[in-house]
C-alpha cells in the first residue's frame, strides 16, 4: 500500500519532469529545422543567427530530456514489476521498437549536427536537423502507441494470467493512440511556438528589437496558430475516444454524477466529491456535453453514480485538469491569432500590452501539457491498464517502502537541481541575443 502510493508519486514526478523537456524538443527541433532550411535556401544571415540562437536553447533542453527519459525506460521494471510481468509481452514491444527505430536515429544525428557546422553543406546540415525532428516525432509515436494500449487495450489475449499480443496491427492502428499522438505533437508545436514568441517578446520589451528577434516571432506565430487550432480539433477527437472507451474518465472529467440524455455543459461547475454532486452548476449550454462526447446533442452520458466507487478515478483532479487544459487551449488559439495579425501588420512592437501577454504566456503551454497528462493518467485510475489491471495490483513486491521513499527523495533532489541548472542556463543563453 505504502509502496504503491510512493511509487505512484515517484512515477508521476519523473514523468511530469521528463515532459517538461520533451515537448520543446519535439517542437523546437522542427522550428530550428525550418529556420535552417530558410538559411540554406535564401542565404539570409538572419536565419543563420536564428538557427544558432534557438538551437543553443534547444540543446540545453535536449540534454535534460534525454537523460530523464532514461529513468522512464527502467521505472516499469523497478517499481511496477507486476505490471511489467502482466503486459511485458505487449508493452515492451513498442518501447523496444521506439529505441531501435527512433531514438537511435535521434541521438546519433543530434551528435552529428552539433559537430558538423563546417563539415557539410548548409543544405545537408539543415537536412540533419530534419532527421532529428523526424526521429523525435517518431519516438513520440511509439511511446504513445504504448501508452494508448494502457488506455484502450486491444489486439491481445489473456493467457496464463498475462496479456499476450495476438494482433500487432491492432496495437499500431489504435485510434486512441493516433489521436493522442496528433494531440501531443500539436501541443508540442504550440509550446515551442509560444517559447519562441515569448522570449522574442521579452527581447522586444527590453528594446532589443533586432531583425533576428522580429523574424523569429514572425516565423513562430503562424506555426503556433496552425498548431493551436489543430489542438482544438485533436482535443475534440480525444474527447470522443474517451467517451467511447473510458466512460469513467469521461464522467469524472465532466463531473457528471447522474446518467442523463441531452446533457448540458455548465460553463461554471465545481464537484463536491463527498456529497457525490456538484456544489456549483451555472451557465448551462444545452446539449453541449452530449454533443462533445458523442457529436450528438441528445446522447446519453453515463454518470459516476452508475459505477462502483472502487472504479471511479479521483474526480476533482480529473475535472480541474480537464477544464483548465481546455480553457488554456482556447486561450492559445486566441493569442496565436493575435500574434499573427500583429506580426504581419507590423504593429506588434507598438503593442506593449500584448508583448507582456506573450511573455507571460510562455509558461502556459507547459502547464497545459502537464494538465493533459494528469487528466490522461489520473483519469484512467484505478486502472493501470484500463479495464484489465488495477494500479493497486501492479507495483513491485520485492521493494520496501524505505527503498521507494529514499529513491523518491533522491529523484526530487537531483531533478530539482537539474531543473534549477537548466532554468539558469536557458535564461542566460536566452539573454545572449545577437
Amino acid at each position: 500500500m505504502v509502496v504503491e502510493s510512493l511509487s505512484r508519486i515517484q512515477f508521476a514526478s519523473v514523468a511530469i519532469f521528463h515532459f517538461l523537456f520533451v515537448p520543446l524538443t519535439l517542437g523546437l527541433s522542427t522550428l530550428v529545422a525550418i529556420m535552417e532550411t530558410m538559411y540554406a535556401r535564401t542565404g539570409d544571415e538572419t536565419y543563420l543567427k536564428m538557427t544558432r540562437y534557438w538551437s543553443r536553447l534547444f540543446l540545453v533542453n535536449f540534454a535534460v530530456g534525454v537523460v530523464t527519459g532514461l529513468t522512464l525506460e527502467f521505472q516499469f521494471g523497478m517499481n511496477w514489476a507486476e505490471y511489467s510481468k502482466f503486459v511485458g509481452d505487449i508493452f515492451g514491444a513498442p518501447l523496444a521498437i521506439e529505441a531501435t527505430v527512433a531514438f537511435f536515429l535521434e541521438s546519433t544525428f543530434i551528435g552529428v549536427w552539433m559537430f558538423s557546422w563546417k563539415r557539410v553543406s548548409r543544405g545537408a546540415h539543415a537536412a540533419i536537423m530534419w532527421l532529428v525532428a523526424f526521429a523525435s516525432t517518431l519516438s513520440a509515436l511509439w511511446i504513445l502507441l504504448a501508452n494508448g494500449w494502457m488506455q484502450k487495450p486491444r489486439g491481445y489475449v489473456i493467457s496464463g494470467g498475462r496479456a499476450q499480443l495476438s494482433d500487432f496491427g491492432a496495437l499500431i492502428w489504435n485510434p486512441y493512440a493516433w489521436i493522442k499522438f496528433f494531440h501531443v505533437i500539436m501541443a508540442a508545436w504550440t509550446l515551442a511556438a509560444f517559447f519562441v514568441m515569448g522570449i522574442s517578446a521579452i527581447h522586444m520589451l527590453r528594446g532589443r528589437n533586432s531583425e533576428m528577434v522580429r523574424k523569429s516571432f514572425r516565423l513562430a506565430a503562424p506555426f503556433g496558430l496552425i498548431a493551436a487550432v489543430l489542438i482544438i480539433v485533436a482535443g475534440d477527437l480525444s474527447g470522443v475516444q474517451v467517451a467511447k472507451f473510458q466512460p469513467t474518465k469521461l464522467a469524472a472529467m465532466e463531473a457528471q454524477w447522474k446518467t442523463q440524455s441531452n446533457v448540458p455543459f455548465y460553463l461554471m461547475a465545481l464537484p463536491d466529491v463527498r456529497a457525490g454532486r456538484n456544489s456549483i452548476e451555472a451557465l448551462p449550454i444545452p446539449g453541449l456535453l452530449s454533443f462533445l462526447a458523442y457529436h450528438d446533442s441528445t446522447a446519453t452520458i453515463k454518470g459516476l453514480d452508475d459505477f462502483p466507487a472502487t472504479e471511479r478515478p479521483p474526480v476533482l483532479v480529473t475535472f480541474i485538469a480537464f477544464r483548465a487544459m481546455v480553457a488554456l487551449g482556447f486561450l492559445f488559439a486566441l493569442c496565436a491569432l493575435l500574434s499573427v495579425i500583429f506580426a504581419w501588420t507590423k504593429t506588434l512592437e507598438t503593442k506593449r500590452w500584448f508583448l507582456w501577454v506573450m511573455a507571460v504566456a510562455l509558461v502556459l503551454p507547459y502547464l497545459a501539457s502537464e494538465l493533459g497528462w494528469i487528466l490522461a493518467e489520473i483519469g484512467r485510475q484505478p486502472w493501470i491498464v484500463y479495464g484489465l489491471l488495477k494500479t493497486a495490483d501492479a507495483y513491485s513486491r520485492s521493494i520496501t517502502p524505505g527503498d521507494v521513499l529514499g529513491s523518491l527523495i533522491a529523484f526530487l533532489v537531483i531533478y530539482g537541481t537539474l531543473a534549477a541548472v537548466d532554468a539558469f542556463l536557458l535564461t542566460r543563453y536566452a539573454r545572449k541575443v545577437e
Binding site: T71, G77, V112, F115, R162, S396
Partner: protein
C-alpha cells in the same frame, strides 16, 4: 533455433555493443581530468566522445527495451530485485550526460571544474555498479520460489566487487587507447603510455576474475559440457594479447579494435556460461529465470525478431558511417566546429 535462443543472442549483442561503445566514454570520462594538462586538452578529450556518447548510450536503452519485450519476467525481476543498484546507474548516467553537455555552457573555471568532477565520478560509478550487477548475476541472486531474498549489502561480495573492478580496468584501458587514438600531441602520448601500463593491470584482474569465476559461479559448467565454446574465452585472451602487441607497435587503431573485441568477448564469455539462464538463482535452480520461463509469447518474439532483423543492421550501418565521418583526430581546431563549445 528456438526464438528464445535467438533473443538470448541478440540480448547479449546489445549488452556487448553497449559496453564496447559506452566503455570508452566511461574510460575517457574517468581519465580526462588526470591526463589533460590544460583547458584545451580537456575540451579536446571531451570532444572525442562529444558527437557519439549519446548514440552509444541508446544501446543500453535498447538492451532495456529488448529485455522488456523479449523477457518481460526477467525485466520485471531484474530491476525490482536490483532496485538500488539500478537507481545508482540511472543517477550516474543522468549526471554523466548533463555534465558532458553543460560543462562548456558557462565560461568560468569553477563551473567547468565542477562538471569535470561530476563527469569523472559518474563515469566511474556507472561501470562500477554495472559490473557489480553483472558479477552478482553471474554468481546467481538469492531468488526463492516465493520471492527475492537478497539485499543491497550482499551484492558487495568478493566476486561482485571483482567483476566491478574488471569492468573498470577494461574501460580505463579502452578509454586510454581511445584517447591515444583520437586526441593529439602530449595528451595522446600520455594516454598511450598509460594504456601500456594499464594493460598489466587488466591482465592481473582478468586472471583473478577467471580463477574466482571457477569458485564463485557455475559459469564453467557450460564450457565443460560443450568444450567448443572455449573458443570464446580463448579469443578473449587473444584479443587481450593483441591490444599489447598493436599498442607496442603504435598501431593505435588496431589496438582500439582489439580492445573493442576484448570487451565483446568478455561479455560473450559470461553469457555463454550463463545460458540458458538470465538470472540464475543461488538458492534453488528451479527458481532461476531462464530464457524459456521468462520470455514473451511466440507472437511477440517473432514480431520483435523481424523488427530487429531489419532495424539493428540499419542502426549499425549509420553508426559506423558516423564514426567514419568523425574518424580524424580531434584537434583544438575542430572544437570551433561545435555548436555549444566544451
Amino acid at each position: 533455433m528456438a526464438l528464445q535462443v535467438l533473443w538470448f543472442v541478440l540480448w547479449g549483442v546489445l549488452w556487448a555493443v553497449y559496453f564496447m561503445l559506452d566503455g570508452f566514454d566511461f574510460g575517457t570520462g574517468m581519465l580526462r581530468n588526470f591526463l589533460a594538462s590544460d583547458e584545451t586538452e580537456k575540451q579536446v578529450a571531451l570532444a572525442t566522445i562529444g558527437p557519439v556518447w549519446n548514440g552509444n548510450e541508446v544501446w543500453l536503452i535498447t538492451a532495456g527495451g529488448a529485455t522488456f519485450a523479449a523477457f518481460p519476467l526477467t525485466y520485471a525481476s531484474l530491476f525490482s530485485f536490483l532496485y538500488l543498484p539500478m537507481l545508482l546507474i540511472l543517477f550516474s548516467l543522468i549526471l554523466r550526460g548533463v555534465s558532458v553537455e553543460f560543462r562548456g555552457k558557462i565560461d568560468t573555471p569553477r563551473w567547468r571544474a565542477a562538471w569535470d568532477w561530476v563527469l569523472a565520478v559518474t563515469s566511474f560509478t556507472a561501470p562500477l555498479v554495472l559490473g557489480l550487477g553483472f558479477g552478482n548475476i553471474f554468481k546467481g541472486l538469492p531468488i526463492a520460489q516465493d520471492g527475492y531474498r537478497g539485499s543491497f549489502g550482499m551484492l558487495f561480495n568478493p566476486y561482485g566487487l571483482l567483476t566491478a573492478v574488471l569492468f573498470i580496468v577494461l574501460f580505463l584501458q579502452h578509454g586510454a587507447v581511445w584517447l591515444a587514438l583520437k586526441s593529439g600531441g602530449g595528451m595522446s602520448e600520455r594516454s598511450s603510455r598509460l594504456a601500456g601500463r594499464l594493460w598489466y593491470l587488466v591482465l592481473l584482474v582478468a586472471v583473478a576474475f577467471l580463477v574466482l569465476t571457477g569458485f564463485s559461479t557455475k559459469l564453467y559448467d557450460n564450457f565443460f559440457s560443450h568444450p567448443g565454446w572455449l573458443l570464446v574465452p580463448v579469443l578473449a585472451v587473444a584479443a587481450l594479447l593483441l591490444v599489447k602487441i598493436l599498442h607496442a607497435r603504435a598501431r593505435m587503431l588496431g589496438a582500439f579494435f582489439s580492445s573493442c573485441a576484448l570487451i565483446v568477448l568478455v561479455v560473450a564469455t559470461g553469457l555463454v556460461g550463463l545460458f540458458p539462464n538470465l538470472i540464475p538463482s543461488s538458492l534453488d535452480p528451479a527458481a532461476s529465470l531462464t530464457i524459456f520461463n521468462s520470455s514473451s509469447g511466440p507472437y511477440t518474439l517473432r514480431l520483435m525478431s523481424i523488427v530487429a532483423a531489419i532495424f539493428v543492421p540499419i542502426v549499425i550501418v549509420y553508426q559506423v558511417l558516423v564514426y567514419r565521418f568523425f574518424r580524424e583526430k580531434t584537434t583544438p581546431d575542430s572544437l570551433a566546429d561545435h555548436s555549444g563549445g566544451y
